[in-house]
Subunit: 466 residues, 2 copies
């Protein structure tokens, strides 16, 4: 291997940046990381970001790559399915998969990030600086301008290659956009919904107030509430709601009375677990939900966007962190092939990867509608019932779209999307036409679904569609 | 009607801005227009923009609204179809419709814009200022900052409502984006192809060197050349080519020899008509092809984006100008309903209109692939043959996607897209499966196409797809 003394600059020590620093450190590069926030291992900062996250197989693939799978497992709370709550307080557990070993996990963002930072710093060739905010990147000179949070002094850092893992609001992406030195395709798309984090605290004895091993959902058509467990017995609860549509929205939930009325009417069983609702509601910010896509991610062999800075997505597939971790795995594989030529590495990485991050962005929007609405509709529930049975009876022959995306890390998001959407369309239409039903013979249904799915994909191919 | 003395500020006196000024002038508003360029009726400026454009039924609907249909007709050269040129110089005319009265027109951007300016200025309540460039808009105060091109002095203009019709690079859209006062969804997407304008000059006697009443296309799979006629006997020729892909591209066409070699090999019959090729090629700029979408278009009742500033599209459907003209027709209809309340007018206009401008943006990308590639493929040619026959034999019962978009101005672009795409998919799949063929009974084919199209739309509806 050549050029091992190369100096790598990473902007941002969040989940993606700290994993990248660890991996490039393991590979022998001189890695310097600058992070705008203080060291989260020493300070309690949630900084408006989700407190816990869904961690699943694609993310775990990256943990295996860097050899910390077991340490991460200790931070995980398995969630076997969605616990659906209706307005009357009835609950129904809908498993994520018909295969018992397939489940997702709730994990603390802070704990996981801290672990990655600590693992990265074990390498002498990795240095991490905190409280240094990136202001801009000169991608032609391969330098970045930073400001020290405490002294306010600005300084310039030089490197052989710069990686921006500075999130959805990336300073380097802004430099690409404003620089106008090349054609930069870029989009930011906001939903008309925002979100607000709330909490269900533990019982006095430190126990969970409701079922621990599930992702709880209160789907209400136009809006929803969800809850994920934390190791300390609490749940982090998130309300997804329109800013200004519908009878209740973030713009008109302005008093303790109306907030309580809203929860009493829509989420009475949750309200019972949340005596702290009003305090949380007015203490915590309302944040927007946006998707960012862009291209190119790299400028020559000088600079590369990775993680949310290249592809921020809405949280509804639980894949944001997993996708960013998978970036590092994909990047590492390209590095194996072309190490020594950054331009080739960056070009091939983007060529391989972008179709998949575009797909998960679109899938996450799909799931927004599925979670808040479809999960409550009869035909979607029948589809789910059939898919669970197929996965259980034919574990090697069938995977639902959710399983393809979440538990099949050997195929890309795009392939999972195309196959998964065609399967959904096949099942929903055969249900609607009475060709199949949840009480039918499952072997027969499996064959029909496979045949119809292939026919749908073939029709799209002939028509020149994707 | 109330508030007729309201002061309206229009930024940009291009095709959309001058039409809007004319219409609002007719409605009695005090209209002031500021345009960054000099008066194109007095100066010869092409300013890097297309010299001629495709004008069709949606655009004409707007000309009828403002009462200048006949004056515009005098500027039009009918194009009945696409004249396809293969590599051997063979030509084949493919009509745009099986109905004889359906055709598109080539029109001079400068002549048409000049006519609209002159018509607008006939109204005492309309004033147009040239050489005044908009720098930014304060959408909260409803003011705009301009700079005078000659004196370089800056000045601020106040209004009751501001309309930005300042094109794809809109200053007001930039103010929306940079202002961060509201969630602004925005995308700019570039193709990997650019374009360059060339020309076929008239003969010495002023005649056309090739067939006048067609849009000429030299489709070559990965790139193409097109030509549209001008009233003076010339054709404006446009080369669409990758920046850096393929054997020949804009980055490597750097010498007269290689440019000539490229045309000799790919477009020999065009080269014969273009002794001026090399001069044109190196005199004229290479420009990018981009799509812009955004939302919201308006800020309260203060400001509104219209035309390319709200929705710039690639030129491959010949609908850019027509869509912007249709904006004014749609806006005028909403104004009839809610005149006096700008916020209601702007909100309802965007609600009605955005789905359609999003659709034409996507259709224009579809047609890029159709024009450069599909038109040369056997199955697409068979489809076209069937559709022409259906339109001719059953003029009231069938319209191809192209006809729905171009000649059916009573339905929106989105409806045209959904129905047209489903029809294409139906015909291509039935051709591929041998269910229909161009030599079959047309009444039978019509029924099969209608039935299959409806089935495709129904399957999408059941699956929750649009």
């Amino acid at each position: 291997m050549k050029n091992k003394q190369q100096n790598i600059l990473i902007i941002g020590a969040g989940l993606c940046g700290s994993l990248l620093a660890l991996r490039l450190g393991q590979r022998g590069y001189n890695v310097t990381v600058f992070e705008m926030r203080p060291d989260l291992r020493k300070t309690d900062i949630s900084a408006g970001r989700s407190i816990n996250l869904a961690f699943s197989d694609r993310g775990n693939k990256a943990m295996k790559l860097v050899g910390i799978e077991d340490k991460v497992k200790a931070l995980c709370i398995p969630m076997n399915g969605r616990m659906l709550h209706d307005k009357e307080g009835n609950t129904f557990l809908s498993n994520y998969s018909g295969r018992e070993h397939e489940y997702i996990n709730s994990i603390s963002r802070g704990e996981l990030n801290g672990l990655l930072l600590t693992e990265a710093e074990k390498h002498d060739n990795v240095t991490i600086h905190f409280n240094k905010k990136c202001k801009s990147v000169d991608f032609e000179k391969t330098t970045a301008l930073f400001q020290d949070y405490n002294t306010k002094k600005e300084f310039v850092e030089d490197a052989d290659a710069i990686f921006a893992t500075d999130g959805a609001g990336s300073a380097m992406r802004k430099s690409y956009y404003l620089g106008k030195k090349f054609l930069f395709s870029f989009s930011q798309d906001y939903l008309t919904h925002g979100y607000k984090e709330l909490s269900i605290l533990p019982t006095k004895t430190g126990d969970y107030k409701t079922y621990k091993n599930a992702l709880h959902i209160w789907p209400r058509g136009a809006f929803m509430l969800i809850a994920l467990p934390n190791l300390d017995g609490s749940f982090t609860v998130t309300l997804f709601l329109g800013y200004d549509e519908g009878e209740y929205n973030f713009n008109n939930l302005t008093t303790p009375e109306i907030v309580t009325e809203f929860f009493q009417k829509e989420f009475p069983d949750a309200l019972e677990l949340m005596p702290n609702l009003v305090e949380d509601f007015f203490d915590n910010p309302t944040a927007p939900l946006g998707t960012v896509k862009c291209s190119p991610w790299h400028y020559k062999g000088n600079t590369l966007l990775m993680g949310d800075s290249a592809h921020a997505i809405v949280p509804f597939y639980g894949q944001g962190m997993n996708a960013s971790f998978e970036d590092v795995v994909e990047f590492d594989a390209v590095l194996d092939k072309h190490e020594g030529n950054w331009e080739t590495v960056f070009t091939e990485y983007e060529k391989n990867r972008k179709k998949d991050t575009d797909a998960i962005a679109d899938l996450a929007i799909d799931n927004f509608h599925e979670m808040k609405d479809h999960v409550g509709q009869a035909i979607f529930q029948e589809k789910r019932k059939i898919e669970m049975a197929l996965e259980k009876e034919f574990p090697k022959d069938y995977s639902s779209k959710y399983s393809l995306v979440t538990f099949n890390e050997h195929i890309g998001y795009r392939e999972a999307m195309l196959k998964g959407r065609a399967q959904d369309k096949a099942i929903l239409n055969m249900l609607s036409d009475g060709v199949i039903s949840p009480t039918g013979n499952m072997k027969d249904i499996l064959n029909k679904v496979k045949q119809e799915t292939e026919a749908i994909l073939e029709d799209d191919r002939v028509a020149g569609l994707k």
